[in-house]
Symmetry: C2
């Protein structure tokens, strides 16, 4: 079998290796700027200045104001802050509140929604079509007078489906005008953009979202670090209370080095976005056409390569094969990929995403394989993956 | 004025510089072990193994089981998990619940308690004496049939007062036996040990606590990373929901490098603990005696050096002086210290800790200066600080 060196990492959707210049920046800043940004002295001010500059950089990249960027400890935390932050204040006032989420959200959204339901919120699950796409019409139809928030994943982590977030935001603006006239509060739109970062438009003005989650671990940046974009003037409840850092929305001494690393990582993926998308889309198309030609029983999960699919994702089901076994076989041969999402510790459960797009086909869910590519992936890697896949099919 | 190089950092209670071998370990692991610990393939297993080994190391250092160590994104988060985790499940059942916290807790405990109060919990604030000490008797007197949790800071972050945690835990065990016989649920004990780590006993068996918070940023370790020790079989509600990592108590892809860094940092401070305590206590005693001899109007806040005070903390008030102005003057001269806690962004508020020990003396709170020392502090530094303090007094 291949030695460790020849491993082909095809699981960038689970986590990305850290960019070496990001790692270097983080190590340098971590060593030097160790002050507490809340300290009055020069070491504190130095740290506060780096934090401020990082926030400014991130805001600039997202077309946002500095004030709108809340640094958090990861994507899951950001999602939780968005959902609990909007819904709990309404529950506290003992008022009815309704939340809409798609059926193919990440576990962070689904489980935060479930918790909110147990606290008294009403949840509607937005169906998706066979490509995993939500329909803006369906979204709007689900809106009730007491709807407070819609949360839709920008690009799905398992099958790469890209949702029409800008279109939904546009329709929502119209609806919110009517609601305003009727004395109803606006419906907010949150998108989990963790997988989208690096491949899709992240300008919050163009997207028109109210809340957006990003994390470092998917953009060659710091692990357990992320942001929540919070549109100007939106008032949220925090989920973590204490010293009042991050405008009161995330207490705890800030991770200054990670903030600087995140800003750099985001800058780098945004800078390379267009080129990298083209490069990976070629690889994606090549991989898919070969898979369909050379391997029998292959079904693509999610849309065909194009604007409705992330350029770095191929998710297939192979008839009469077991996904986990294939992952383990490929791993032994030096190919690192996954079946379903890695972001859950519940291995044995079949993918809720594949079930949602396949009329709950357990066979299709259990026979799925996800390859997610990134900055080190080459056509040669694809040929190697294909040759191994042929062995087991 | 002194150049940057000759700065004397005397604000270790606000945040510690990272230990260079910890930084090296984190950078190395961050670069190599980038897999998602939940991934089935070898990169995932590699990350999972490091995480497991780090947890084992931490558990060993605390006399705990691996299962009892929950990695979190910092001390504030751990405290929030402890308080919300215990109290919210009871509130959800619409049952009365009572929480006891000392008046000199860190903002994380005080503000989490305040939030719980707004959610329906009843809070009692445990008074402290003029040294900042709580009395076990007072603690026990406050217990009600529906008391669920007591949270007391092990060593205060501002004035260094060390609380009799083991004694309280011992008394509580007796009370809990009686409660059990009476069909009442046990009262749990949480301690925020962030400042204690490195200086005090952290063996959870010896301490007898049910929950204990530690963080990396105070032990020359990773920033925005910590643990919550959760005694075997205790069931808590999470505050962050998602993929179910950390036994369901802290969802989100784990920061493997930080976990390894935290384990090493804790190991190093524990290893040096006895020697470092003696060394710093000498410095502390020398500093205090000189302060009292050479500077007029000095009042020590907190207990005299000894077993009731952290060996690295000196907090004084100087009659008719302004704390913030002194910090800024000393900073300009290359001495980095603080007035009150840095862990709060509300600068202008007088220290609630000094107020609590001084019959609410605003003068004493506003004229306070905290020097907190660490591994680089020398007697020469103290002489330099003293010479500068003489200038302004």
């Amino acid at each position: 079998m291949n030695s460790k060196k020849s491993n082909i990492y095809a699981d960038y959707a689970a986590t990305t290796p850290i960019n070496s210049s990001v790692a270097k920046r983080m190590c340098e800043i971590g060593e030097i700027a160790y002050g507490n940004p809340s300290s009055l002295h020069s070491k504190g001010l130095e740290a506060a200045a780096i934090l401020k500059e990082s926030r400014r950089e991130v805001a600039g990249l997202l077309g946002a104001h500095e004030r709108d960027i809340i640094f958090t400890a990861g994507g899951t935390e950001s999602v939780n802050l968005a959902l609990f932050g909007v819904v709990r204040p309404i529950l506290k006032k003992k008022r009815k509140v309704h939340l809409i989420v798609s059926t193919i959200e990440h576990a962070a959204v689904l489980n935060a929604a479930k918790e909110l339901q147990s606290e008294g919120a009403e949840i509607s699950y937005l169906p998706v079509d066979e490509q995993g796409l939500v329909s803006p019409k369906d979204v709007f139809m689900l809106i009730k007078p007491h709807t407070a928030l819609i949360s839709i994943i920008y690009a799905n982590n398992e099958i790469g489906t890209v949702q029409p977030i800008a279109e939904i935001a546009k329709g929502l603006r119209k609806i919110n005008k009517e609601r305003q006239a009727a004395g109803l509060s606006a419906v907010l739109l949150h998108t989990d953009a963790c997988q989208a970062a690096g491949y899709l438009e992240l300008n919050t003005q163009k997207l028109g979202v109210d809340l957006m989650t990003l994390n470092g671990g998917k953009i060659y940046g710091p692990r357990q670090f992320g942001i929540l974009y919070v549109k100007k003037d939106l008032v949220l409840d925090p989920i973590i209370f204490g010293g009042g850092q991050e405008r009161g929305l995330r207490s705890g001494t800030e991770n200054v080095a990670a903030a600087a690393g995140f800003a750099l990582a985001l800058k780098l993926v945004q800078k390379n976005r267009s080129k990298e998308c083209k490069r990976l889309q070629k690889i994606q198309q090549y991989f898919l056409s070969k898979l369909q030609k050379e391997i029998s029983g292959v079904v693509l999960n999610g849309p065909l390569p194009g604007s409705q699919r992330l350029p770095n994702n191929i998710n297939i089901s192979i008839k009469e094969r077991d996904g986990e076994s294939m992952v383990i076989y490929l791993d032994a041969a030096g190919i690192l990929c996954s079946t379903g999402s890695a972001c859950s510790t519940a291995f044995s459960e079949p993918s809720h995403v594949i079930l949602a797009i396949s009329h709950q086909s357990l066979d299709r869910a259990k026979s799925s394989l996800r390859f997610s590519f990134g900055n080190a992936t080459t056509k040669k890697d694809i040929d190697h993956i294909l040759s191994l896949l042929k062995n087991i099919t």
